[in-house]
Amino acid sequence: MKKFMNDPSSFEADMLEGILLAHGDELEALDPDRRALVRRQAPSAGKVGLVTGGGSGHLPLFLGYVGQGMLDGVAVGDVFASPSAMVMLEVTRRVNSGSGVLYLYGNYGGDVLNFDMAAEMATDEGIEVESVVGIDDVASAPKGEESRRRGIAGLFYLYKLAGAKAELGASLAEVKEVAEKAIARTRSMGVALSPCYLPSTGQASFAIGPDEMEVGMGIHGEPGMERLPIEQSHQLVSRLLEPMVQELSLGAGDQVSVLVNGLGATSREELYIVYRDVHRWLANFGIEVLLPYIGEFATSLEMSGMSVSILSLEDELVELLAHPCDTPFWRQCR
């Protein structure tokens, strides 16, 4: 393992100190450990508070999307570990303007457990809390068992759409409805080429041969669907797109947004080659791409690999996706 760091045991603390030094004008830490982060102006009067959380090691997920037009607060865990329910509760209290709080996060056991606990405690305190859980990773469980699927880069769409809806002054029920629509219309699938190394142990998250790829691998190195010899980009893209397009029942005349996400150590050049092949594959079926996103949105430390997410668009979603936002890791102008 080679990493730019100091003491491995202060990996998260040093990273968070850097985040606050760089983005302290936008973000505020509620605790000395900087595990509870909120938008400086939180709560915004009358606005539904959007809260996320999860382990470190995935920047820009999760804290990178706290800001105008997206999220109001985040609970930050250790690398690949859930933050505590107490931190989530602290964030919840602060971002609640009285209009309720919506939890948006990925479907991982520890996170679900802690967010459920936090929701229960917040409810006891009289705060209205709802939850919508990201389950975009097609490879993590078969169709029909969607509730077992993990949340990966498609979480970006969940944050962006619900964030814009909340910013426009919608009620908790209305924001939740958009979040659920985002879940129903987003699918993702990833491929890994090389592992990441946990700073605390120096251990590789998995072993893989030099000419192999793992299709469907999760963002913590969870086993995927199959291990294959690496293919050309256009072949791989069609392998990834087919199940997604089928599940979303996409056909000629439909409009989608595409998100090509690097897992941490894959070049932008490669991501644009993948985007080319995605765009051409979809165009071949008469499917139009309106708003493409290419870059790093949900990483796994220095893992190399990428994921493709597809959002099936409709009128309201196009507007919400195009709505301006301003966060430390994602800015979008009208």
């Binding site: 865990g77 570990a81 505590s84 931190v87 520890g110 457990l113 802690n114 606990m117």
Partner: protein, 215 residues
């Protein structure tokens, strides 16, 4: 030894539990490493060390025993947000709230505490007895406690029975197949190993019964 009744006696019981966890941390880690990721000893030690520090604070003034449980639970959930840390922490919080109005805990109050902890872990953890988890020690412990009280045993006798049953429950996990958590991935391969969570459950009843015997 007597079963804790006052707030300060509950503090003593939890500090005793912290020491038991400290002495057993390596065994917990080794048991967990056979089936899980081996961090259970570390997280439980971390959680209970923090609880001991908090409860040993001379500034601490807690009147109600239930508040001691709430404080211990929130501390555990804050510093050890692993699955077991969170489930156990919130079990303590809910149990403490259930007996919040009591200034002294009798057998009936302890029965409520154990049932609340068991129900909370089962509901939030989506697990039941037989799944090779902490419940396989806590459920027989809580049940043995209740039956002993029903038979007319003293609270002290009932607590000792609870510990014996919880300890046996832990031993019995060797025959069980894991269905929950990381160990769930190993399915039938989990048979033959005892469960680290159930070991933790037995320790809780050991501290409760103030059993001096080595376990």
């Amino acid at each position: 030894m007597t079963v804790p009744q006052s707030a300060s006696e509950v503090v003593d019981m939890l500090i005793c539990l912290a020491h038991l966890v400290e002495d057993t941390a390596e065994e917990l880690g080794a048991l967990d490493a056979s089936l899980g990721d081996g961090d259970l000893g570390v997280t439980m030690r971390k959680g209970f060390t923090a609880i001991e520090t908090k409860l040993s604070d001379p500034e601490l003034s807690v009147v109600h025993p239930g508040d001691v449980l709430v404080l211990a639970g929130t501390t555990m959930a804050s510093v050890a947000p692993s699955t077991l840390g969170t489930l156990l922490g919130f079990g303590f919080v809910k149990a403490g709230k259930k007996v919040a109005d009591k200034e002294s805990l009798d057998g009936a109050a302890w029965s409520v505490i154990w049932r609340t902890i068991v129900d909370s872990i089962a509901t939030q953890g989506k697990a039941q007895r037989g799944d090779k988890t902490i419940l396989d020690a806590l459920v027989p412990g809580a049940e043995a406690f209740d039956s002993a009280l029903e038979r007319g045993d003293s609270v002290e006798e009932a607590a000792l029975e609870a510990y014996v049953a919880a300890r046996q429950g832990f031993e019995d996990t060797a025959r069980m197949q894991a269905r929950q958590g990381r160990a769930g991935r190993y399915y039938e391969h989990s048979v033959g190993y005892k469960d680290a969570g159930a070991r933790m459950g037995a320790l809780i009843f050991q501290a409760f019964s103030r059993s001096e015997q080595a376990s």
